[in-house]
């Protein structure tokens, strides 16, 4: 009987371990294939929720980062990512074109509004859109807005955004041409390669929409990004560089790399693919089948910040979310599924009345996941 008791104990323990190892990630990734393949029912439910969020005017006070600049960035980011998601739905689902374009245009109108761009105005002491003829960077605001406007222009060649879109891209090209190291500043004295990746995507999408070749500065800028922005050891993107010479001010990190890989998917597929491969090779880990991206390169550690989000055990929330997009873009179903399982676990999706919201996501989380999980697969845009 003693042996039987021990056998029962062992069986119970084995059952517990098996239950933990086999069941949870499979339960959480059960919808991953549907998202990867763009199943309409999934996409429509999240699109409906994001449309609900962006139908009302989000205020900076809806975001509680502890910094008015970051609150403003997140407000802008919500509209921008939502616009990307709606635009990407049009790429995959022509039958939803008019509804999705209307939703996208609502987001673009909000992203371009004076109130929403106030965070950038405050940082620069000048309004990005009023100062388009000036020399100063505004890389994040103009770059991110330019990407969304560029995607929209590829879907609707002529609209009330066209003139402003032309002026934004012209300003970015001119400023990039004058930049000493090939990088534009996001804020005075602050240069982030990931924001410059958005600038390149904005320029590329504009050229494609108008059927023009990309300007020479685009090629030079991409070369600068590749030479100075990419860490040679890991292949990851450096998080921050100096304006004057492009030398690194921060380490290579996964959050910037993943978001840049997403943006560059609209501009330069080989570089986007190289960044995704670096992420998959260097940063991707699974724990009990749940996938996540380490924020810092293996062997190094660092603080969590507004870019990384929390980094429990070194895993970056932002990097993991953005990598969903690059995985889908580059046809990496296995990585996508493992990352999706984690997003499902910690995002805590909740379905109601034909909508899906991520309980721990709120407007920004839903908008980012919407953009990432509908990121265009190769051939859809490039």
């Amino acid at each position: 009987m003693m042996v039987m008791g021990q056998t029962r104990k062992l069986l119970a323990l084995l059952a517990f371990v098996l239950g933990i190892a086999i069941v949870p990630h499979r339960v959480c990734e059960r919808e991953a294939d549907a998202w990867f393949d763009g199943e309409p029912a999934r996409v429509d439910a999240l699109a409906a929720q994001v449309a609900e969020w962006t139908k009302t005017d989000l205020m900076p006070r809806d975001f509680v980062t502890g910094s008015s600049r970051f609150d403003g960035e997140w407000q802008f980011g919500t509209y921008m990512m939502a616009a990307m998601g709606f635009g990407q739905v049009v790429l995959e689902r022509p039958e939803r074109r008019e509804e999705s374009l209307a939703r996208m245009e609502r987001c673009l109108d909000m992203a371009l509004s004076r109130d929403v761009r106030a965070f950038d105005t405050s940082a620069w002491s000048e309004d990005a859109l009023d100062a388009l003829d000036g020399p100063r960077g505004h890389a994040a605001y103009l770059g991110y807005a330019g990407v969304a406007l560029g995607l929209h222009r590829n879907l609707r060649t002529s609209s009330h955004f066209s003139e402003l879109h032309d002026r934004i891209v012209a300003a970015l090209v001119r400023r990039l041409d004058a930049a000493p190291a090939g990088f534009l500043e996001t804020y005075p004295g602050e240069v982030y390669p990931v924001d410059n990746a958005a600038v390149f995507a904005a320029i590329a999408l504009h050229a494609r929409a108008l059927g023009r070749p990309v300007p020479a500065v685009f090629t030079r800028g991409l070369a600068a990004l590749r030479d100075k922005g990419v860490d040679r050891t890991t292949g990851l993107l450096v998080q921050a560089v100096r304006f004057e010479d492009g030398s690194p001010r921060d380490r290579a990190r996964a959050s910037g790399t993943a978001l840049a890989a997403y943006f560059l998917g609209f501009a330069d597929e080989p570089m986007s693919s190289a960044l995704h491969r670096a992420l998959a090779k260097e940063q991707f880990r699974t724990v009990l089948g749940f996938g996540a991206m380490l924020e810092y390169a293996p062997g190094s550690s660092g603080r969590a910040d507004i870019d990384s989000g929390p980094t429990p055990f070194g895993f970056g929330v932002s990097a993991t979310g953005f990598a969903l997009g690059t995985s889908r873009m580059h046809g990496d179903r296995e990585t996508f599924s493992a990352l999706y399982a984690t997003a499902h676990l910690f995002g805590a999706p909740f379905d109601e009345n034909g909508t899906r919201t991520h309980t721990t996501g709120g407007p920004l989380g839903d908008a980012i996941l919407f953009a990432m999980m509908t990121a265009p697969q190769k051939g859809r845009i490039t």
Binding site: R8, K9, W74, I306, F346, F350, L364
Partner: protein
Amino acid sequence: MKASLPRKSIGILVASILILLLDEALVRAMAHGHVAHVLLGAGSGTPPLGAALLALALVVVRVLAVVAVPGALLMSAVGFAAHYFVGGGGSADSTSTGYSTGASIGVRGTQ
């Protein structure tokens, strides 16, 4: 042999169901909240205590519900199966045999 059900397996089953219900309730209650902003903004400032606690509770309960409960349910099932096919030795069951005083007494009593 089957005079009483395996108490520990029942306990695990009930606890698992309670955790699942709590997870469902928390997810539902917080579905329209802005918990993400607390979580994502943690790097740049101190989040409000109440919101942080709510967020933490959801994360802990959810990890338990999604990761631990399947293992616990399987363990409980093994306990019920062992009790049904082999017998519990009084009130003992597979999961309690090795863990509880009652189970040990049951084993001794048969020797």
